[in-house]
């Protein structure tokens, strides 16, 4: 069952939250060995939370919009009593978290039931989730392939049916890349929209938290539950939550396909073309200097990430994942003038991009340059040029998150043989409602959907 169906069944007493939790825990026990999505399973916590939901239902109280929905989170979100490892060996020495991250607490308040924590790229720096310490996440559509990263466990657990909703983070594409490669829906909201308190940082000026789900109604319910003003988070913009009301009678959206940098041949671009056509796009729009926006994000990421981890890089570099360590070391050496210039470029391109949204409500672009690649593959060919895979899977996501724009990855099943590929829907800041409206219409016409991976379907 999808998340909103579980919540409806629990509220109407057709399904006990404990039954839903036990079923999810049984699926994890049966299937996680094949995909390696979970790093921690919080069985006792899950059953206690489920029992609390069942007790509320028995008392005739409203248990919340996500009543009894089993969820799991990337292991950089604080879970009370558990050490927040952020995909690393180093953080395993830290004290257990004293309280849940804000987003986790919000889901718990909405009645959701926490199953545990999920595999990720170390410190969220990567797009392949081939974690040196915890092992790679295997894509449920083909276990020989990557699930994408850095929130790879969040993508794989969902499309294998081990959790009904999952949470991840997106600095340069870490929600949209695994959503694309696993074939699920994933939202990166506007920068500053959701509280990040209790989520281990990577790049403070680019980090976002966001949800994954297998359908748009569940994604909207999760996003709404995560919203809320958090006075303790200084990065959250002081703006009241704007709940997503999925309205089938919403006025038509003005949609354009992004061209130039985002155009090309191959299955990923063809999937974006199909989505754009289904949304009635009649124009191709040019995003202002996406290569420079991507470059600015790359510089800011390298420098902020390197600076954040500099104390550990000085004294215990050998404890880092080799895939992450050399990039962080290089980032710690980026000249300050380059970073300042990158920030100015970011501001200027953001100003230019804003004018695009006077003409269009939604822009369409591929989420990744290709479908899931084999685990261990080092290089990828994009538009005829061979380049390192690990940093370049985010070539289409990075220019957009650099500007803080909201983006929703929608899945196109069987876009490359049996493999799915995601497509980004992009809107102006604070216009997540346009993204949900467009995604709901794509889901309704059947082009975008997120079935369980074939070997995990019941």
């Amino acid at each position: 069952m999808i998340a909103v169906e579980i919540a409806a069944a629990v509220k109407s007493r057709k399904l006990a939250a404990r039954e839903a939790a036990l079923a999810a825990l049984a699926r994890i026990a049966a299937h996680d060995g094949a995909i390696n999505a979970f790093t921690d399973i919080t069985r006792e916590r899950a059953l206690a939370e489920a029992d609390a939901v069942d007790a509320a239902v028995a008392r005739g109280e409203d248990p919340g919009p996500l009543a009894g929905v089993p969820f799991a989170v990337k292991n950089l979100f604080d879970l009370a009593g558990l050490t927040t490892r952020a995909g690393s060996r180093i953080e395993r020495d830290a004290q257990p978290a004293a309280e849940d991250a804000f987003a986790v607490a919000q889901l718990r308040r909405a009645g959701a039931v926490c199953l545990g924590a999920l595999n990720m790229d170390e410190y969220a720096y990567g797009f392949t989730n081939e974690n040196f310490h915890d092992g790679p996440v295997h894509n449920p559509h083909d276990p020989a392939r990557i699930a994408g990263g850095s929130s790879g466990g969040s993508g794989a657990a969902l499309v294998a049916g081990l959790a009904a909703i999952t949470l991840g983070t997106d600095t340069n594409g870490s929600i949209r890349v695994p959503a694309s490669l696993c074939g699920i829906f994933g939202l990166k909201p506007t920068f500053g929209r959701l509280s990040r308190r209790g989520a281990f940082p990577f790049v403070a000026s680019l980090d976002h938290v966001g949800p994954f789900a297998r359908d748009i109604a569940s994604l909207a319910a999760t996003y709404d539950a995560m919203a809320g003003c958090d006075p303790a988070d200084h990065a959250q913009v002081r703006r009241a939550p704007e709940p997503i009301g999925l309205n089938p009678m919403a006025p038509p959206l003005r949609v354009a396909r992004l061209g130039g940098y985002f155009a090309g041949e191959g299955p990923a671009c063809m999937a974006a073309d199909r989505v754009a056509a289904a949304l009635g796009a009649t124009e191709v729009a040019e995003f202002p200097d996406p290569a420079a926006a991507r470059a600015a994000a790359f510089l800011i990421t390298a420098s902020e990430g390197g600076s954040l981890h500099l104390p550990d890089l000085r004294v215990r570099a050998a404890d880092f994942d080799p895939n992450t360590r050399d990039r962080l070391l290089a980032g710690a050496l980026v000249p300050a003038a380059w970073v300042h210039r990158a920030e100015e470029v970011r501001q200027d391109i953001a100003r230019r991009a804003a004018s695009l949204f006077i003409r269009f409500d939604v822009l369409v672009a591929p989420a990744t340059p290709a479908a899931a690649t084999p685990i261990g593959q080092k290089m990828i060919t994009i538009n005829g040029e061979s380049m390192p895979l690990r940093p370049n899977l985010g070539i289409f996501t990075q220019p957009l998150s650099c500007l803080g724009l909201p983006a929703l990855a929608v899945p196109v099943p069987e876009a490359d043989g049996p493999l799915p590929i995601g497509v980004q829907l992009i809107a102006a800041p604070w216009r997540e409602n346009f993204l949900f409206s467009a995604a709901a219409s794509l889901e309704a016409n059947g082009l975008c959907r997120a079935p369980l991976a074939a070997s995990f379907a019941e």
Binding site: F191, G192, R294, A332, L333, V345, G404
Partner: protein, 68 residues
């Protein structure tokens, strides 16, 4: 700067800058970091070559997105 610097310049820079940042790199690590820094230079080139408008009063740097 409009193009990434050549490999020799990158190697010299990394060897000089690492100790200033308090980083002691063994030869194997040094080679890997030089390669990683070369990637930063290649990808960064479009931002470093970007033509910024000259403003009398540059806007404050903020991560909060611009609205149309």
């Amino acid at each position: 700067m409009t193009a990434a610097p050549d490999e020799a310049v990158i190697a010299s820079y990394v060897r000089a800058a690492a100790p200033l940042a308090g980083l002691a790199l063994d030869p194997e690590r040094e080679e890997a970091v030089i390669a990683a820094f070369a990637l930063v230079c290649r990808v960064a080139a479009p931002a470093l070559a970007y033509s910024l408008p000259r403003l009398a009063e540059p806007p404050a740097i903020s991560a909060v997105p611009h609205e149309p």
